[in-house]
Amino acid sequence: MDILHNLAFGFEHALTLQNLMFCAIGCVVGTLIGLLPGLGPLATISLLLPLTYSIPVTGALIMLAGIYYGAQYGDSVSAITMRIPHASSIVACIDGYQMTLKGKTGLALFTAGISSFIGGTVAIIVLASLAPALGEVALLFGPAEYCALMMLGFVCVSFVTTGSLLNGLAMCLVGVLLGQIGTDVNSGAQRFTLGLPFLADGVGLVSIALGCFGIAEITKNLDAREERTPFNKKIHLMPTWPEFKRIIPSALRGSVIGSFLGILPGGGPSIAQFAAYAVDKKVSKYRAEIGSGAIEGVAGQAAADEAAARTSFIPLMSIGIPENAVMALMMAAFIIKGIQPGPNMIAGHADLFWGLVASMWVGNCFLVILNVPLVRYWLSVFKIPYSVLFPSILFFCCIGTYSVNNSLDDIFITATFGLMGYIFLRLELDPAPLMLGFILGPMLEENFRRALLLSRGSFATFITRPISATFFSIIAIFILWQLVTFFLQARKSNPPRGQPV
């Protein structure tokens, strides 16, 4: 009953007129950027960060969270109707687009909307019951455990987002190094500032995010030079009763899988979708149809997607360690608003925590209203040609960067990171782990130094304490497994060669 009481308390805060408005703005903006190419949730959240300085704390965080899960949903709409996912809805392309080809776009969109709603609802129950409990576990964590958890996060994120441990880990480390720029907190020494005064405070988060995700992404799209054909078909939304009955079991399965995978380090929507889809393919009653436009192929993954997007807030809010790049950015937003996420947050800022949780359910309702009956109007944004869109996005990037410090110098920094991000993209290095490394870098250093200080310089502290030893052994298993698979592949693909390559 405690949960119900707490949720009721949260709804009191989420249902004020002001917070409802922020939630609606977040969902609308999120859906819009999810639909349009060129700006992902990472770039948009960092773009709007400076605008939230003047908004009250709860409202600002409700809006930013709305952008995140709204974008997740908008992305799946664009995947279903045109087979163009911008961020993570790769799975929605498979069955969703097949359904569009069969002329069942409306049914696919309805399924995705309802399943997302179910997924979100399940996730909120998980969030409300698990986050406080996990917060108590987190009180046992010392600096060594925090270090180990962050490293585990790096390894998992690298593996999940890029599929290659080496590439992802390298990007995390580049991010950590970029986070070192500026004044050292312990000694006051200026590090890597190249003697430039505006680097003494470090590189701006907004500059890195807009450079690596905004500008680099735009240029990549321009290089591809594809003109999109707008979606003009008829949409028939309402399903028949037998169709509706098929949605439910698959969506519930997806919600549970998504809620669980969202909590794990490195987890989040993309991996949850794949897992839910794979499970549906194994156990669904209609498994033979999946892949050729089955309702289950859309329902399960959509539910998992939304569920994971919400439960990934759990590690951030209860332990204080974000588990993926978007959550790292949310953490930065919390800190800008003067709130340190972590075990003390739920007790210290109960109104904020429960208000945010409740607002996610409100956001869920907004998304269903926005996306199921109004989806026709959203699809008309595809008619905007890219030649109009991308200069506008550049304009917003410039204004966003400028308004952080009212400084035009920051635009040059953004441009520099745009170039760097473009090089990373062309080298097939995914910049998402960089963001996580950049935000966690200073925290990692702090905890690392503190752990060694407490143990008088002995690294044994990382493996003698049980919790951190567990984390490090998981990391070791991951790395060993990668090495073994690499050598097995190398042996298979490299028959003895006579001539030099």
Partner: protein, 140 residues
């Protein structure tokens, strides 16, 4: 030389060296009382190792070429730099116009009329930001 994995490793090594060599200039301290140079040195050494592994692996695996088209990124960066410079020395309204006209060179089609309309639209948005949201934009 156009080998994606080789270049990838080389680029990472370059970054690790840039940070690693500079961090040697800061006091390292001891392990139990780390100085400002210790942590960046450790991280960049690790990055160096990863870069080296990627280079070694690239010599064993098959080559894949890297696709790098400098044209669009140069246009985009030039329009950003031009926007910042013009806003600094003249005013931001001209900067916005420059941004639109310069950046759209990278698009698939170029139309002066469309650019004029777009620039006008963005200027209206910028004015709205300044007047309604209270952003400090040096518009004119």
């Amino acid at each position: 030389m156009n080998n994606l994995n080789l270049l990838k490793g080389a680029f990472l090594i370059l970054i690790s060296l840039a940070f690693g060599i500079v961090s040697l200039r800061y006091p390292l301290g001891r392990l139990d009382r780390a100085g400002p140079g210790m942590f960046p040195l450790m991280v960049s050494s690790l990055l160096f190792l990863i870069g080296a592994t990627i280079v070694v692996r690239s010599l064993l695996a098959e080559r894949a070429p890297m696709h790098f088209k400098p044209r669009n990124i140069v246009i985009i960066l030039a329009s950003l730099a031009g926007f910042a410079l013009i806003s600094e020395y003249l005013n931001m309204l001209l900067g916005i116009a420059f941004l639109v006209f310069c950046a759209s060179l990278a698009g698939t089609s170029y139309s002066v009329v469309r650019n004029l309309k777009l620039a006008a639209g963005l200027i209206v948005i910028a004015l709205a930001f300044q007047k309604l949201l209270g952003l400090q934009l040096p518009l004119y």
